[in-house]
Amino acid sequence: MNRTAWILNLHEPFGAALGRELMSRGWNVIGGEPTDPDTREERSAAAKNGSGELPEPRAADDGWGSTIAPESVSPPVPGGDLSDEEERPSGWTHGAHIGENRDIPTGTGSSGLEDFEGSVAFGPESNARPKAGTTDPAYAEETQAPSHGADPNASNEAGAFVPAEPEDGNSDRTGGSAAASSEARTSGAASRIDLLVLNAGEMAPVFGHPSSRSIEGKTDESSVPGGWPADSAGQEDTTAGRLQDYETYALTPLRAVERLLPRMNAEGGLKRICFISSREGSISVGEAHMPIGRAMAHTALHMQAKLLFNDLRREGYTFRLYDPGLRPKLSGGSNPQTGSSASDSPMTPLSAPIAESARFAAGLFANPHANEDRLVLTGSRGEEWPF
C-alpha cells in the first residue's frame, strides 16, 4: 500500500521541490493546480504518462497549462540516482548531503541552544535521498513503522503525481469551494491522505543565506541590505493586503484541514499534518521590517497549528511546523526583489537553498520524531525557533 501526501501548493519552487523529494521516497503526491479547469485534464494525462514526474512550468507560466520538463532542469526521476544532483548548479550547498557543506551544522542538527529532541531522527545526515534499489542505513527510520498509526506496508517504490485542485492563497473567501472540489477530485485518485502539507503562499529564496536571525536575537548577514526586504509599501500596508495575508497564510490552511481531515482518519493512515510557516511569525525573534500583516498572519498560523495539535494529537495525529528558511513572496507586487526570484523564473534551475530546504522538509515530514508530544517551529537546519 502506498502512502499519499497532499501538498496544498504544489507550485515551483518549494512545493514542487518537496513533491519531488517525497516522490523519490516512494510517496504518491497529490497537489494544488492552477485554477483553469480546461488545462487540468492535459496535466492529468501528462502525469499519467508513466514517468511519474512532476512537470515543470514553462517559461511563460500560463498556469501550468502545458507540461514541459526542460532537459536542463529536468526534475529528478523518482528514486533516481543522486548523480543527478551533482549536475545541478551549486549554490551555497555542494553535495548530496547537507552535512557536506561547511555552512551547515552537522551532528544532531541542533543549534545546540536548546535541545532539539529527535533531531537525530531526521537530522541533516539522514536527510539525503536513498539511491534507487538500495537501502540507506540513514533511512532506516523511514522504513520502520512510524510510531503513530503509520502504514507499515508503505512501499518505497517511486511515487506518483496526482493533480488536484489548487489550494493557494487565492481560494475564495466564502465557502472554501476550492478545497471542496479538491476533495472531490482527488477522492478517486487516492482516498486516504497520510500527510497533509500546508504550504500556503509562495516561497522565494532569501538573498544571501537562508538564516536571517540567530536565536539569541542577534541579526546576521541577511538582516543587512540584500537580506530580507525592507518594510514593503503598497498592498502589504493596506487593510486589504493585511486581510489577504490572513486569508493566504492562516485561513487557507485551516480550510484545507477542515475539508481534508475526514480523508486522514482512515485506518492505517499516518495522520500527519505539516505546516510550512516562517519565523517571521515568531513574536520572540521575528524581525521588525517584515510586512506587518504577513508577520501577524504567520503568528496566527502558529496558533492554529497549536490548537489543532491540542485537539488532534489525542487521536494519534502528529504535527510538523516548519520554517523553510525561505521568505514568503510578497503579495501585491510591491517588492522589487521578487522579479529576480527563482519562483518567477521557471526556466532557471531551482536555487540550491530551496532544494536543500525541500529535502530537509521531506525527511522531517516523512520520519517519526522522538517527541511527538511537543509542537516545535523547526528551521531548515533542524534548529528550533521560539514562538
Binding site: L243, Y246, I283, T299, Q304, L307, D311
Partner: protein
C-alpha cells in the same frame, strides 16, 4: 500640572469603561471610543466629568472611522500621552471544533477588530502620541493569544486574532521603541463583562478590579509581582496579566 490626554477604544462598557473611569478619577482628559451609542454608561460618566470626558464615535475595524476619530482628537488637542487599545470581540462559534464546519466570516471579523484594529488605531494616532509626554501605547490582549500556553482545542478565531495581535505589537515595539515610544501588553483576566453579549456573571473579576491593575501597569514605571516591586524594563516587550505575571508568547 498639565493635563494628560488618553484615547481608549471600546469604552462603552466592560474593561474599557472602567479604564476611562479610572483615568478620569486621576484627572486625565479622556477620549472614550464609543461603538455602542445607545449604551448609557458613558453618558452618565460624562455628566460626572463634563470637562474631561469626550465621547468619540469609533469603530476600530474601519479605516475611515479610525482616521476620522484621530482627526477629531487632533482638533481638540495637539498631543496625546496614552492610547489604550481595548476594544475586542468574541464569537459564539468558539467551541466549534475542526470536525465541524468553521465560520470563516467570523474569523475575518474577529481578526479585523482584535488584531488589525489595534494596529490601525495605533498607526493613526502615532503622530499625536509622538508629541505627547508619555508616548505610551497599551494593548489589551489575552492569555488566549499565548501559543506557548495554549490548551484550547478550538477557539480558532479568537486565539489566532490575539496571537497575531501580539506579533503586531512586537513589530510596532521594535520599530517605534527607538523613537521613544513605550509599550504595555496586558491580559486582563477573566472578567464579568459583556463579550458574549450579556454580562458574564460567572467570571472571576469585576472589570474595575482589572482596570485598577491595568492602570498601575499602563501608567507606572514599576509593578509588583512575585510580591515585590519591579522596575518595568521599557526595552523589553512582555505580556503581563492583572497580577503582574508574565505570559509566554
Amino acid at each position: 500640572m498639565s493635563t494628560y490626554h488618553a484615547v481608549i477604544t471600546g469604552a462603552d462598557r466592560g474593561l474599557g469603561f472602567a479604564l476611562a473611569e479610572g483615568l478620569l478619577e486621576r484627572g486625565w482628559r479622556v477620549f472614550a471610543g464609543s461603538y455602542l451609542p445607545d449604551w448609557p454608561q458613558l453618558g452618565e460618566l460624562q455628566e460626572r466629568y463634563p470637562d474631561l470626558l469626550i465621547v468619540l464615535p469609533l469603530d476600530v475595524s474601519s479605516d475611515s472611522s479610525v482616521l476620522a476619530a484621530a482627526a477629531a482628537v487632533e482638533e481638540r488637542t495637539r498631543s496625546l500621552d496614552l492610547l489604550i487599545n481595548n476594544a475586542g470581540v468574541i464569537t459564539d462559534k468558539n467551541e466549534d471544533s475542526i470536525r465541524t464546519s468553521q465560520d470563516y466570516d467570523e474569523m475575518i471579523r474577529l481578526y479585523q477588530v482584535n488584531a488589525l484594529g489595534p494596529i490601525r488605531t495605533s498607526e493613526a494616532f502615532l503622530p499625536l502620541l509622538e508629541r505627547g509626554e508619555l508616548k505610551r501605547l497599551c494593548f489589551v490582549s489575552s492569555e488566549a493569544g499565548s501559543i506557548g500556553k495554549a490548551e484550547r482545542t478550538a477557539w480558532f478565531a479568537y486565539c489566532m486574532s490575539k496571537a497575531a495581535l501580539n506579533r503586531g505589537v512586537r513589530l510596532l515595539f521594535d520599530r517605534r521603541r527607538p523613537e521613544g515610544f513605550t509599550f504595555r501588553l496586558y491580559h486582563p483576566g477573566w472578567m464579568r463583562t459583556y463579550m458574549s453579549g450579556e454580562r458574564n456573571t460567572e467570571a472571576e473579576l469585576e472589570p474595575s478590579e482589572s482596570a485598577a491593575s491595568a492602570l498601575e501597569y499602563f501608567l507606572g514605571s514599576a509593578l509588583p509581582w512575585d510580591d515585590k516591586p519591579h522596575a518595568i524594563d521599557e526595552d523589553e516587550l512582555v505580556m503581563r496579566d492583572w497580577q503582574g505575571r508574565e505570559w509566554p508568547w
